[in-house]
Amino acid sequence: MKKMFGSLSVAMVLVLSLFAAGVLADSHTAKLRVVHASPDAPAVDVYVNGDLTLEEVPFKADSGYLDVPAGTHTVEVFAAGSEYSEGEAVLQADLSVEAGQAYTVAAANTLESLEFVVAEDSMSVTEGKAKVRVGHLSPDAPAVDVGIIGGDAVFSGAEFPAVTDYTELDAGTYDLEIRLSDGTQVLPLEGTEFAADTVYSVFAVNTADSLEVLALVDYEAAASPDGMPTTGLGTPEQSQMNWSLAAGSFVLAAGGGLFLRRRFQH
């Protein structure tokens, strides 16, 4: 198969076919995010169901969430720029995704032992709280804790290739560190700010001797209404009767909604 997007070599290319399945605003899609977490692997191209979906994803890059139809998808990873050939991927898996769920798919471990680490992501958080989890994606690093410097562990005994459950914290600033179970500091994360209404994934990546953090926001909360807006005041026949009826309901609606309204420059 010929490379279709050679001219856009720096960019990841999101292929149309992921969207083409129907209505954009329907409820039958899942969110899928791909992360390159293999320290010695080259940049990769990712194919979903045989279609080039992400191009030249370097180590420590993530795709952001893509919409994919619910169902089972074949995800294949090739070294960037290599010809697509079915069954010849350096890494391949069939991934089942449910509508309304979000997933992180990390290509992890060393190139020689490349594997997918799949985690289900949270799209909710208690109002005013921060929600955090950590993932141990450093193939040769020992089990670690993540905790307050000089204080309690928030996450204990995280081992490669585990992604912990989420835990909710008060929003605020924390002096954190990644440390061994005996307390030896591996990586300081002083002054870490966790914002309210936000869900975080903090992945420890790279090799043990150059351990670093790849942090991602999974979700930021905001309200949704129960229904779409009614955005037409007209009707096909603007008869006198229709108009007076519409005017009547208009006054009612305006009165009922007054407490919600804030008009600017008045």
Binding site: M12, V13, V23, L54, G64, S224, P229, T231, G232, F264
Partner: protein, 198 residues
């Protein structure tokens, strides 16, 4: 009126068979590409740098729209609220701000009792057309990448108003045949736009 539940008119004809999705490159979200100095210090703190604005005006040069943006919430029946006037646009204030990650939603009427309203020509937008939002905190520009006209029962409200890993702005107006039983049109025209990175 008996038996007449869905009625075609100019609005519904204009939005028949409408819709597109522009194929476009996704920028990699790599911390290595983040020039922010904070990234080197503590990558977690480099995450929430994307700030939104509270919109005061919207302008869409391609269709000659210049309008004030009201900050509204929900109606008594839980729908996104809309302006009482045909010339203003409403922002769903409890949702995302234009410019922050997630879908900020603006709505405007397609018509009024006497003719076209602010979003009458929304169906004429093409991929790449620019939407400019201004507020006290600054200006944000968005580019159209998709449009669809969706049946009210098919539209997933949580998706239209939902979280995204990048900033998006959604414009909504009414489309489709007029449903006399429901007292509104059968569809909504939804325009999807993405923030233009500076």
């Amino acid at each position: 009126m008996a038996g007449c539940q869905a009625e075609a008119d100019e609005v519904s004809l204009r939005t028949k068979e409408i819709g597109f999705v522009e194929e476009q490159p996704q920028k990699p979200q790599s911390p290595t590409m983040n020039k922010n100095a904070a990234a080197a210090e503590n990558p977690i703190n480099a995450l929430k740098q994307v700030k939104g604005i509270k919109p005061k005006t919207i302008s869409i040069p391609a269709i000659g729209v210049e309008a004030e943006v009201l900050h509204l919430g929900v109606t008594e029946n839980g729908e996104m609220d809309v302006p009482d006037t045909i010339e203003d646009v409403s922002w769903f204030e409890p949702g995302y701000e234009p410019g922050e990650n997630g879908r900020a939603v603006l709505a405007g009427h397609v018509d009024g009792a006497e003719g076209p309203a602010v979003f009458w020509d929304l169906n004429d937008l093409k991929a790449g057309d620019e939407i400019i939002i201004e507020g006290d905190e600054g200006t944000r520009s968005f580019k159209v990448y998709a449009m669809e006209s969706v049946g009210l029962d098919l539209a997933d409200v949580d998706a239209v108003f939902g979280y995204r890993s990048t900033p998006e702005l959604i414009l909504i107006t009414c489309s489709g045949d007029f449903d006399h039983k429901r007292g509104t049109r059968e569809e909504r025209l939804i325009v999807y736009t993405k923030l233009v990175e500076k």
